[in-house]
Amino acid sequence: MNNNKNKLFEPALMNEALKQSFIKLHPAKMFRNPVMFMVWIGTLVMAAVCVWIAFGEQSQGSFAYNLIVTVILFATLLFANFAEAIAEARGKAQADSLRKTREETPARLENGETISSSQLKKGDVFICEAGDIIPSDGEIIEGLATIDESAITGESAPVIREAGGDKSSVTGGTKVLSDKIKVCVTTEAGESFLDKMIALVEGASRQKTPNEIALTILLSGFTLVFIIVVVTLKPFADYAQTPITIAAFISLFVCLIPTTIGGLLSAIGIAGMDRALRANVITKSGKAVETAGDVDVLLLDKTGTITIGNRKATKFYPVNGVDEKHFLKSVVLSSMADETPEGKSIIELAGVNPLSYQIQNPRFIKFTAETRSSGIDYDTIKIRKGASDAIKNLVEKAGNHFPSETEEQVKSISSNGGTPLVVAENEKVLGVIELQDIIKPGIQERFERLRKMGIKTVMVTGDNPLTAKYIAEKAGVDDFIAEAKPEDKMNYIRNEQSQGRLVAMMGDGTNDAPALAQADVGVAMNSGTQAAKEAGNMVDLDNDPTKLIEVVEIGKQLLMTRGTLTTFSIANDVAKYFAIVPALFIASIPALQGLNIMNLHSPESAILSAIIFNAIVIPMLIPLALKGVAYKPIGASALLRRNLFIYGLGGIIVPFVGIKLIDLLVSVFI
């Protein structure tokens, strides 16, 4: 699915986009974009002028010159439409490649009937067995299965999904590898998140975001200013007895209104959603991407985001007087049946094969929430390992002493961010196992980057405050919520929001749904429950908790691209004035030759050069609009300086050079 990641212009997409460029000339579509709509009107007027000249009008210059102006204006329109069309085509292609996986698979209903996936309705229940492709998004209501989600996530390792709990959601297009599940359809055909996203990209349901509306107001304002400037120029010129042709008026107007940003504006917005999709994040609205750029606080789950999935055993501490080998044996035996990653890591650390010990009648004791310990019974020996207070309870109940040495050991492990497990044999303490969280490599740098963006990171963990504090410090997050319950998250978000901050969080469980809904940007994991996915405004197909960071950068890029291209577009006007204004008046006011600082060849070549530059700058900036301006977390003022220098100063200089070069070329023909 990442096949066209690096290519900006696929030939197949180009064809589609070219076709769309013409279809989008429909006035009702043009009207959505006030700036380009004015160009559209300008083109019509010029076409009328051409006809007028063809019927013998003498005052408007040659037919060829007027025709060229008309054609260039028309090209400007096509370029702008093309920018939007190519952005749409790319987004659609991306979404299509995701959708392809879920087209027309047979679905076996509960009653044994087999229908096509497209006929499935919300509430239908279907059955999938090993080897089946899941026909639709849904929730497991019965059973457990391993599922290959690589078609969606690109992750080859199979995942387990089971009824009840937070891992009950399945995605259409993924494949069941083992076992049998009963699934209830949760979305109507054509209403899945992906379908919604495709509709957004295609423009059918694309609404302007608040920021886009505000920017359109600014651009419309600039367009209005230039309507005033150009209309009042007519009586001014008459007063100065300088006849100005309609072509010159229209050219001046089209050059001055912000066509560059006007033509690229919707492409930038679509490209933002498209970039999110390329990161395997489905957004439910364009606004969500934009809001992500504004996020002030990021709530991150510890596990999976900050630390690598699970804790690992890192050290054994036998109690004074206990033989180390004996301790090792007890540790290994008690963890033999422990399937958790922690349990496995204990045996790994011990480096002993548990089967090498000869034991009689082993009975494995499972972990329960009441005992908060697990272990093994064999012969007359009972080994238990568990949380220190649980073991302490056990030991003291039997009338034995819980060694102060162990007590201290436990404390020091906790304060170093570890989790202590105490091991006891027949209610006597043998020693302590230290489990440690492994902080993901490179995560500190990412948090540093976030801090420079001005984003506060908050770690959410079920750990006790001591452990949480240690990991928070080590990973470099700004704050943490320890022993977090779902309502803690909710309260934290509310509190931050009441202080005016925007909060983003990621979640998967039904428990998370209220918090996801409360957060300004809620990213639900695709593996999460339907409730979570409905509550959030984005869905991450990769189930990757670090994705939030990418989403924030995509949002920032989106706004920055708009801002920089607006600046560039407006700064361009300076050079265009120096090209066109002398051209308008030189014939009657030779003194104004002094303003022709670019020394352009003739009034006609000056006007043509300006509008040619104005037209071709749009396609030349399409790659930038689609890729987005690079975000650098160097602080807002430095970023502004940098962008002002590149796009502001560049926007003043580039057209001087460009128009002069085009003029050199045009003057060969005139």
């Binding site: 608040p210 920021n211 509306i213 505000a214 107001i217 600014l218 419309s220 304002g221 209005l224 200013v225 230039f226 005033i228 400037v229 209309v231 009042t232 120029l233 009586p235 001014f236 010129a237 008459d238 007063y239 100065a240 001055l256 934009e290 750029g293 504004d294 002030d296 801090r451 420079k452 963006m453 001005g454 005016g500 901050r501 920032k556 890029q557 989106l558 706004l559 920055m560 801002g563 920089t564 607006t566 600046t567 407006i570 006007d573 300076v574 004035y577 204004v581 308008l584 008046f585 003194a591 104004l592 303003l595 602080g635 807002a636 003022s637 970023l639 502004l640 300086r641 962008n643 002002l644």
Partner: protein
């Protein structure tokens, strides 16, 4: 260095030094904190409130502020029309000057009501002393209105989130009594000592050196001139305004009058900083305004001092500078400097004929008014500047990847719409007004003093001056006709009240929004980088909107001359 230039620098430096403490004082006045003038003014103000039945502690939202502001202006309008159209038969008219015609009274009233003072009459013959005193009253209160409107904006940014923006009458009255009045009194004392007339007697008669008898107009000039400048009004007692020897007798009065114009707009910038507890932000604003001011003023001083090449060609000594239309006692440098001071600050008083300025000096005078935010009028300047800040915040906010915010408030579609309408209104009024004048030569061509480019500049200047509420004129224009009186009257009204309503509305809307605390990702608005951005926005908007018009006026004239 040239003493003429040193004099200017000294005056500018003294103003800055005094503006900072005055700003602090003004901030205290509006915040209701104790000041050393309390014992004097508390009883006076209490009397006002008692008589009028106004409760100064009654908090208003931004809409109520605007209603109060517009209502009080309507009352003054009616009173003014009554006085100006009947003053010929009212007391205090020793010279027997006539009442004004309806259209002239309309223009005079509007232009004084909007703090502009575009005068289509001459003080010597066109108005009685009662009329002059009434106009002096308007000069006080309209400056007070502008300042009160600015304080509503100050208040909106001082609080984190509020709809309660203080009491309009309280701000207004305090502006007049505690700020404008004391400064005007000090200036008046200086002027009287420098020989400015202060009398209710009619014309005096003198015999000049040639032995002819000359009638000399006089009146309560020393009372009138201070507020004319301190309130950034600019309406002259005499027709020749600050070029008249009795209205600006000496080099010292010239400098003090310039100080008078500068002091309130500058101090208001610092008052803003003190009031919202962001002094650095005030310095950013001051920096942008000063750079803009100097970029206009320095070339003007230079061009006026260098003289006119056409005169040099005639073999006439031009070493004193371009002295056409200037007073020899003031000189080219001080006149060139004044021409920008009075145009950036919407005062519109003159000490030389702007019609005779060098072409690009004239362009700079026009540009100063087209921008109308480098210091600007009392209160009004900050309001205009706020619009540019909003636009700059919006574009630069996007450039750093955040939804734009200013002072912790998000700038969204509604604020942008208002800001854009106000930013558009100024070029609209100027360009459409000038276009009408150019398209209707039957009303205008006979009133122009010059043909060609310069005639065009005269029309452009008249509307620019009106829209900017400046009030100075390219004095070649014979502007007391029905066409000019009515058309500029309308431009004056819109040019005054739109830029008050807009920024107050924006500030009011922003004040209602949730406050967003600053983070490292927030764009700081008190930095030189942001200042540069504001400056760029101002320069680009002014340049883009007015370049073609300027090209046909002063720029064409310049290229024809050199």
């Amino acid at each position: 260095m040239n003493t003429e230039i040193l004099g200017i620098i000294a005056m500018f430096g003294v103003t800055l030094l005094l503006a900072i403490p005055l700003g602090k004082y003004i901030a205290k006045v509006y915040a209701g904190e104790r000041t050393f003038l309390d014992p004097v003014f508390n009883p006076i103000e209490r009397l006002f409130y008692k008589v009028s039945g106004i409760n100064p502690d009654n908090e208003m939202n931004w809409k109520q502020h605007l209603v109060a502001l517009l209502t009080i202006n309507l009352l003054w309008f009616l009173m003014s029309m009554g006085i100006l159209m009947n003053m010929g038969s009212l007391p205090l008219n020793p010279d027997g000057n006539p009442s004004q015609s309806a259209d002239l009274a309309f223009n005079t009233t509007i232009s004084f009501l909007v703090n502009c003072n575009l005068q289509h009459y001459s003080g010597e013959t066109g108005i009685s002393y009662l009329g002059q005193i009434w106009l002096m009253f308007l000069q006080f209160v309209t400056a007070g209105v502008g300042m009160a409107a600015a304080v509503v904006v100050f208040k909106a940014f001082r609080e984190k989130s509020t709809t309660q923006l203080g009491n309009f009458y309280n701000y207004f009255l305090k502006s007049c009594t505690r700020i404008l009045l004391p400064i005007s009194l000090v200036l008046a004392a200086i002027f009287v000592f420098e020989g400015m007339p202060m009398t209710f007697d009619g014309k005096d008669t003198i015999t000049n050196l040639q032995g002819d008898t000359v009638q000399v107009s006089r009146g309560p000039v020393a009372a009138f001139v201070p507020i004319k400048h301190v309130g950034t009004n600019g309406g002259g007692f005499f027709g020749a305004n600050g070029a008249h020897p009795l209205e600006n007798p000496s080099y010292l009065t010239n400098m003090v009058e310039m100080f008078g114009q500068f002091i309130i707009p500058m101090a208001m910038v610092f008052a803003f900083g003190f009031f919202i507890r962001r002094r650095k932000f005030a310095w950013m604003m001051y920096g942008v305004m000063t750079v803009g001011f100097l970029l206009l003023a320095i070339p003007n001083i230079n061009m006026e001092m260098n003289g006119n090449p056409a005169i040099t060609q005639m073999g006439i000594d031009n070493s004193l500078g371009a002295m056409e239309g200037k007073e020899i006692r003031l000189g080219a440098a001080a006149s060139g400097f004044w021409s920008i001071v009075t145009t950036v600050i919407s005062t519109g008083s003159i000490n030389s004929m702007h019609d005779s300025s060098m072409p690009l000096s004239g362009m700079n005078e026009l540009l100063a008014m087209m921008i109308n935010a480098f210091y600007g009028g009392a209160g009004a300047g900050i309001l205009n500047f706020l619009i540019f800040i909003i636009l700059a915040v919006f574009i630069s906010g996007l450039m750093v990847g955040r939804t734009p915010e200013f002072m912790g408030k998000k700038i969204e579609a509604r604020e942008m719409k208002i800001a854009m309408i106000i930013a558009l209104a100024h070029p609209f009024l100027i360009l459409v007004g000038t276009a009408l004048a150019a398209a209707l030569p039957q009303y205008t061509s006979a009133t122009l003093a010059n043909p060609g480019f310069h005639g065009f500049s005269e029309m452009l200047y008249e509307y620019t001056s009106s829209a900017a509420n400046n009030g100075s004129g390219f004095e070649g224009l014979g502007d007391n006709t029905v066409f000019w009186n009515i058309s500029t009257g309308i431009v004056l009204l819109l040019g005054r009240f739109l830029p008050i309503i807009g920024p107050v509305a924006i500030a009011g809307l922003l004040a209602e929004k949730k406050f967003i605390p600053e983070s490292a990702g927030t764009l700081k608005t008190d930095t030189s980088t942001f200042g540069l951005m504001v400056f760029a926005v101002i320069a680009i908007i002014a340049a883009l909107a007015f370049f073609p018009a300027l090209a046909l006026g002063p720029i064409a004239e310049y290229f024809s001359l050199y």
